[in-house]
Symmetry: C2
Subunit: 343 residues, 2 copies
DNA sequence: TTGTAAGCGTTATCAT
DNA sequence: ATGATAACGCTTACAA
């Protein structure tokens, strides 16, 4: 009972009584005017019947392309990146491409040999939220010697730089800041991720710029690592320092906001009555905690999808236009007007 | 300026003044006694200098294997699966394998054509937490005609079935149940995921069995989808039905537990004073909410790693022994003795 | 309209 | 100890 080996195009050709070339033409969809309609039909039928599947290795070897893209993300456990992947994979599949993930072990820093042998097996790279030089020497936007590269959520394209697909993070932070200002907050502390990438840098700048325009508004900044415990500690520092306590904590992410809420509660402060807290990313975490977090919704899937489209354009020899996707403030229960100062 | 094309083994051979076969032997690591030490050194040096990388497509074509495994998961956005992937990818990398992800769009149900063209490009499949028949016809544990398959967190291997790597979920649920019993709880409602897979079925059975052994303990079960909102609704049903209210909610996952906590708070019940809530999975969510969740920690990375090891064994012609990985109860603030019955 | 044949880069078999 | 050579399955000139 030896299993029938996987049929090759040659097997299909033999079974259909045609040549291998004809099979390739028909199945490759480039037979218009080169193969007769009936022959094409026969070929397709026998291929179907035999359960023929083209051997991707052979095709890649012949074509010199693999129809595979590499998606480099800092951390897969973050829901945002999982969604970026989903979007990229969807668009890729539509075009017969695959996506392989590379969760950069070094986080956002330069990766030693980011691809290893994978480098030989991919046509292009999509990198999300990485430090500018983390991919040095890897891709160069399509120029000679490097792999075509698209950057997501990164410093917008200077001419000659890799094309980017960005989120309107600055706008998002302007929106939260204005939301807090509109509620009446004037003492705001920015709980910032201590990660040196464009996406985080631009947030601090946006908040600062927005608050600078409002007389009487004072901004403090507290830095911390991107996890709950660090956020909690940082929030405690922010809330128990000398001087007047901030009435709102503006956080770089929902995870940080969750930590901030815990800090507040630990200090006997109620959210949002005594302290407003805002998140960013609008992960499922935002509605898992209590109160639910005012946050900024990011079109993560769309970022991945658009990134993949840009890469495909690049691979087709085109020049993708840089895009910036809008984000949306979602107001929930973690923000409210500041408490009237105690007499 | 035209970039130097990627060097082939032929280029290395020419540069080193040897034949292609010698290069292959040396770089393939099977030159002991077939190539002289100095020659080998030279070859390696020139390969290094030229930056030679074997062409994976060519290798795959020649070898008939791709050194790539497919990991099928119900949902990538769930932190657990992200960690399973990380573990699998780590072990794979150690053995020169790649892992491509397939987040089954249909969740845990049968996937139409789970692999599409990918099927041609992979050596084996690791499937996690899928319904038993979801992969029908895909793999068969290595027998003729199918792809080698390993199942994670699934019905333990019957003879002739695919090998499995399992978590001690039943034991985990026994542990939480005993924890609640030890605290004094007797009216317990199991907030169960309405997903018909082994991993969830076995949980209900474990809880029921454990409670059946305790005189006076009463178990109710409430089913819901695996998201916060559904969990909250289900918990509200459980808590506001007629008859005596349960004093503890034993949930199938941290996500459900988070929803349950919100329900409790919405009904004016304090956790854990008026109601104990337990989670499962011990995601980062467990410590993001307040109070932190008593939960069960799963060695997710190790599941992925062990699954990959099993698949590699399978590919080597071996028969991996089914394994069950231990889990650990983590007691936090969401459980406490039940409130003394109001007089 | 269809068939023949070459070649992608690798590994493995066989000579030498 | 090393080299020539044949295959792996596919696409695509080019020939018929």
């Amino acid at each position: 009972m030896s299993g029938a080996a996987r049929p090759t195009s040659r097997d299909v050709a033999r079974a259909a009584g045609v040549s291998q070339a004809t099979v390739s033409l028909v199945l490759g969809g480039k037979w218009r005017g080169r193969v007769s309609e009936p022959t094409a039909r026969t070929v397709r039928a026998t291929a179907d019947e035999l359960g023929y599947r083209p051997n991707l290795a052979a095709r890649s070897l012949r074509l010199g392309r693999t129809r595979t893209a590499l998606l480099v993300v800092p951390a897969l456990t973050h829901e945002y990146f999982a969604r970026v992947y989903a979007g990229a994979a969807r668009v890729a599949a539509e075009r017969g491409f695959g996506v392989v993930l590379y969760p950069s072990p070094e986080g956002i820093g330069p990766a030693r040999d980011p691809f290893g042998s994978a480098r030989a097996a991919i046509d292009g790279v999509i990198a999300s939220s990485m430090a500018a030089d983390a991919l040095a020497g890897i891709g160069d936007g399509g120029r000679d010697g490097g792999l075509p590269l698209v950057m997501l959520d990164s410093d917008p394209a200077a001419p000659g730089e890799p094309p980017t697909v960005n989120l309107a993070v600055a706008d998002g932070f302007r929106q939260v800041t204005r939301h807090l200002l509109a509620l009446g907050h004037r003492r705001i502390t920015h709980l910032a991720a201590d990660v040196d990438t464009w996406t985080f840098r631009v947030r601090g700048e946006a908040v600062a710029a927005e608050l600078a325009a409002v007389p009487g508004a004072v901004l403090a900044t507290e830095h911390c690592a991107l996890d709950i415990a660090a956020a909690r500690a940082a929030a405690e520092r922010a809330l128990s320092g000398t001087g007047p306590r901030p009435t709102a904590l503006l956080c770089d992410g929902d995870v940080l906001a969750a930590g901030a809420c815990k800090a507040a509660r630990g200090l006997g402060l109620r959210v949002p009555d005594d302290l407003s807290v805002t998140g960013f990313d609008d992960l499922s975490l935002a509605v898992a905690v209590d109160p639910e977090l005012t946050s900024v919704r990011l079109p993560a899937e769309e970022v991945g999808a658009e990134g993949m489209r840009a890469l495909l354009t690049l691979l087709d020899g085109g020049a993708p236009s840089p895009s910036e996707l809008p984000v949306e403030l979602v107001v929930r229960g973690s923000t409210a007007p500041p408490a009237r100062p105690r007499p």
